[in-house]
Amino acid sequence: MPTDDELTTLLRRGFAQATAELDPNPDLVHVIHRRHVGARRRRVAVAVAVPAAALAAGAGFALAGPGTANHTAVAVAPPSAPAPSGSAPRTTPHTSVPIKVASYRVDRQVLRRHHSAPLNCPANATAAPFGKSANPRPGAWFWTHGKCFFVAVGGADTKPGDATPIHIKGYPGLYGTLKNGVRTIYAPGISGRGWWVLTMAANTPPKTAVRMIVPAN
């Protein structure tokens, strides 16, 4: 009976002999590139076609509520505003293909999870322009940096001319204004149709506010 060492030596020799003349197709690099490009085109086609079909089917999401925001933008998602997550099949997470035009959807999970003021927010929390008691909809409360912040979300067809670009890592294409103690962030909707409008107190960290939205591509 061979020992383990003898057996494994035999195995190594057998494996080496069995594969000695085995070499990959010299054209393998090109084959992989060709198949990879084809697969990427198919993924991009799906990523574009499925959300477009969902929009065409009328998937919409009204965000309006009284007192949502005291800015000039219309506080209702435009008719062509993007559908929220969950209303269309998930396609983008399966592709790492970046689509150059930035677009966003509202993260309904965050909206749902943070719709009530956290317990550690004082009763008279002054997350101006909103107070805890006002608790306007739709929007979300955040407890961060030891303070309470409320971020309202709405929609607008256009952004104001004086909005300036905001640079937040991972969130391209954002614009914002800061007027009368109110910060407003504008995020492009899917396919460049309309803008999501995030409204908050001036001292709210923009990075906290953008938790409400997720890139849609």
């Binding site: 195995l11 057998g14 080496a16 069995a18 000695a20 990959p24 992989i32 990879h36 697969a39």
Partner: protein, 169 residues
Amino acid sequence: MDVSGGDFDQFVRDASPELLRTAYLLTGDRGHAEDVVQTALLQVARKWRRLRGEPTPYARRAVVNLAKNHWRDRFRRPHESSATVEAVHAPPEADVLLQQVLLPAVMDLPVRQRAVLVLRYFEDLSVEQTAAALGCSTGTVKSQTHHALSKLREALADPAGLKENDHAN
């Protein structure tokens, strides 16, 4: 995901011979092995940016998983004959014992035991690396190695007694 640069091409050139040989030993068929390697490399291409630095373990694991899937699928197709490591690829002076007894016995092992042997004694991976490639514990690797070597030892001791093994694994 940018595989247009030279790094990915170089990776394919460097890694594909070893991946193909591993896939061949796992599937027992050159055509299937080539399919497996192409699919595994496409998976690497999709994740190339995230895999920067260490794509080989990912590619190896993909090959093992795809080969296991292939092996499972073939038993759903009753008309396909059992795989053998084709002697045509072995040099003529190949050892008869190896070609006629040992390698067929390896192909008769359950797929996980075969994968353990290929990874440890062909790719020369450690127990830990083999466990990572198979997605199991190091204890499982050791026990599967032990069982596989025992079966091979029996086959070598009694070449005429080689029997059809069940491949359920």
